[in-house]
């Protein structure tokens, strides 16, 4: 094997191996390459001393510089927080009603809210905040509990139908069909009437019968004209937006055995500033409303007093339904 010799043609030593008559020249490495290689080795030794490198039995070597990726992330996060501190402090200071007066702060709040939305809200409301059946679309101009900044903030803080939160948004529609308040034909009549409100069905004898039933059973929350009442989170039945679907079957199902959506009370989970930013973001999606004027109709409750106890919301009502 070790048959090193000088190759005549090139005057270079061979490596001494032969494969079927093919031999290899022991050509020296180019110097620049060799020195780069040595340089890399030196660097690697220095690096593995200074930085975490070698796996040991229980944990790796730590490196003399004490660098960790976790520590690096922590440092980056702290730096980010420090960068935002001023904006966050300003947001904490300003009451949400006054936020639109500072467009720059508003923009910052919307941007921050968009980020927080992606973490906390998209699970139900969707990435585009368009919701789905049973989960409201936040882009449109239809609001169950109100769409001005302050009201949205209250809804976010206290959630919807959250037991244990005294100010939570809550109401319960009676299960008219299931509990026997209305007979199935009566439920059909009410559905006929409700569907005429938005022009989905034409006036009919059934609808006429339903009108009377509606005034007796439904108008207290949904209003005599079916326009809804935000105080109770009672939806407007005369518009094009249906949270639980707008077909006859959907309406009949809802009157028979209604569904009640819930939302966490984010006040216990997120900081007030984050909630403020979320409210600003949701308000900015294209459906946000102006805060009600002080001289607004009495029907609109003052923003601070929107928390309506269930007892007043369902005076006429009927056995409390299991909350969903």
């Amino acid at each position: 094997m070790a048959n090193r010799r000088i190759d005549e043609a090139t005057n270079t030593e061979t490596v001494g191996h032969e494969w079927d008559g093919i031999e290899e020249l022991n050509t020296p490495l180019p110097r620049w390459w060799l020195w780069t290689f040595y340089g890399c080795i030196a660097f690697a030794i220095g690096y593995s001393v200074a930085y975490p490198a070698w796996p040991m039995l229980t944990r790796g070597t730590e490196g003399t510089l004490g660098w960790t990726s976790r520590g690096q992330l922590d440092k980056d996060l702290k730096a980010q927080a420090a960068e935002r501190a001023q904006t966050v402090a300003a947001l904490a200071q300003v009451p949400i009603e006054k936020l639109p007066e500072d467009p720059e702060l508003m923009r910052a709040a919307v941007a921050g809210g968009a980020a927080a939305f992606k973490v906390n809200c998209v699970q139900c409301h969707g990435a585009g905040a368009a919701g789905s059946k049973g989960f409201p679309n936040l882009n449109d101009d239809d609001w169950l509990w109100g769409g001005d900044l302050k009201t949205i903030e209250v809804t976010l803080t206290h959630g919807i139908r959250q037991p244990g939160d005294k100010q939570t948004r809550t109401s319960a529609m009676p299960a008219f069909g299931k509990d026997g308040i209305l007979t199935p034909p009566q439920v059909q009549d009410v559905a006929s009437y409700v569907l005429t409100l938005s022009g989905k069905e034409k006036a009919s004898a059934a609808a006429q019968r339903g009108a009377g039933l509606f005034q007796a059973n439904c108008a207290i929350c949904h209003g005599p004209d079916g326009k809804g009442l935000r105080q109770f989170g009672a939806p407007n039945l005369g518009d094009a937006i249906w949270l639980y679907g707008g077909t006859r079957d959907d309406v009949v199902a809802q009157v028979t055995n209604p569904k009640h959506g819930v939302m966490p009370a984010w006040g216990g989970k997120l900081s007030p500033v984050t909630i403020k930013m979320l409210a600003a973001y949701v308000h900015s999606l294209g459906g946000g409303e102006q805060a009600p004027q002080p001289a607004a109709p009495a029907a609109a409750p003052a923003p601070g007093a929107t928390a309506t106890p269930t007892t007043t919301a369902t005076p006429v009502a009927t056995p409390p339904t299991a909350q969903q």
């Binding site: 043609a9 050509t27 020296p28 368009a130 679309n137 882009n139 101009d141 094009a240």
Partner: protein
Amino acid sequence: MNNPEKIIPVEDQPLSLYAKREPVFNRRIDGKFRRLKWAIMIVCLAVYWITPWIRWDRGPYAPNQAVLIDLAHRRFYMFGIEIWPQEFYFVAGLLIMAGIGLFLVTSAVGRAWCGYACPQTVWTDLFQHIDRLIDGDRNARFRLYKAPWGPAKIARRLLKWSIYLAISFATGGAWIFYFADAPTLQHEFWTGTAAPVAYATTFVLTMTTFVLGGFMREQVCIYMCPWPRIQTAMLDEKSLLVTYKDWRGEPRGSLKKAEKNPGQFGDCIDCNQCVAVCPTGIDIREGPQIGCITCALCIDACDRVMKETGRPRGLIDYATLEDSEREKAGEPPTRHLKLIWRPRTILYFCVWGGIGLALLFMLGTRVHTDLTVAKDRNPPYILMSDGSVRNAYTLRLRNMEGRPRVMEVSIEGLPGAVMWSEDTGRDNAARTLRRTVAADETQSMRAYVVVPAGTPSQEFRFRLQSLDEQRETDTTEAKIDTPGGE
């Protein structure tokens, strides 16, 4: 194969793949090509060092530096031209022109770029003059090179390298002024408040200039640069080369020999002056070679010797391969000017000029407004409580003029549609929206387009118009989605 007679005899020294560099100590020479080289060197260096300091008034909204590559704001200013990132094809066009320009020059006058204008040549030339200034001419430098290291040699070397370093620093330092306002950056640079990248760039370019110009020199041309290899493929029998006219010079012999044996020797007196002045250290008499950058200093040297010995000039001269054959056969060579006019050079020139004219045309006719539209896809549409349907779009209004402009966005097509934005509010929805776009900026805005219930999904257009005397417009296609489907 194993015929012992065919075995190449083993030489005493083992053959090595490594060739140690032979340092070049080129002699001072004067002549018409040397003077041309001086002129081009001064022009090149002056252009490089002065350009960033030229001021150019663009009004209050734009920088007043004539040539500025503003990476932070993504603008490229060149005198009256301002290029935005999306117009980078102008820069690409200029680079293509530079490339074809090199082809043109190469096919017309050979490796003139290498010989005169290439930065490597210019700075090497400059550094070789520093060598001459500090250490003396060829022989003195050779002696110093051979001399053992002692205080005198160390002092000289340190002085020379300091000057190298100073020139390198001026070279590397000047580069950064192309990327920021030069006077401001200079002040920041010396007070230590400039961006770290400015110092890093200066350091890197100082060191590359120091090493490439001070030490590597002709090795860059011979081993590192791809351009000579490309040129090898581009040169043809009609390209001008620096040619030693061997049919006239050979056999070479000293003056004494020639006097003793008249008629037996050629014009070359074997004085080696052509080798002595060569900045890349080659012997041109060996024929065309990759080490020859056609700087023509050997022509200057040989012409002087021919003059002193009373022989006609041009033993070494610019000549084409074709003319060499003609001259060998005793025919007169083609005039050099005539060489330039041939199909290849004309074709290159036409392509080069065509691209230039096209760029100028595009520059002259480009519109200084632009509208881009990005539709929200999640959700594709939003049903409103009154049954109407809303789509959201992000519009980008671009104002490429150096002054603020009022612009109007309007909906084209889409009957019954209105739009609004955060600043106008839902209640003021209309067919048009107006915005003032700041000078030289792109403004992003959200537009909510609302169509009546029952409108089918369809295409329409946004139209942007500047409300000034120019009335520039730009129209962009968009689509509206509704639950009504197609």
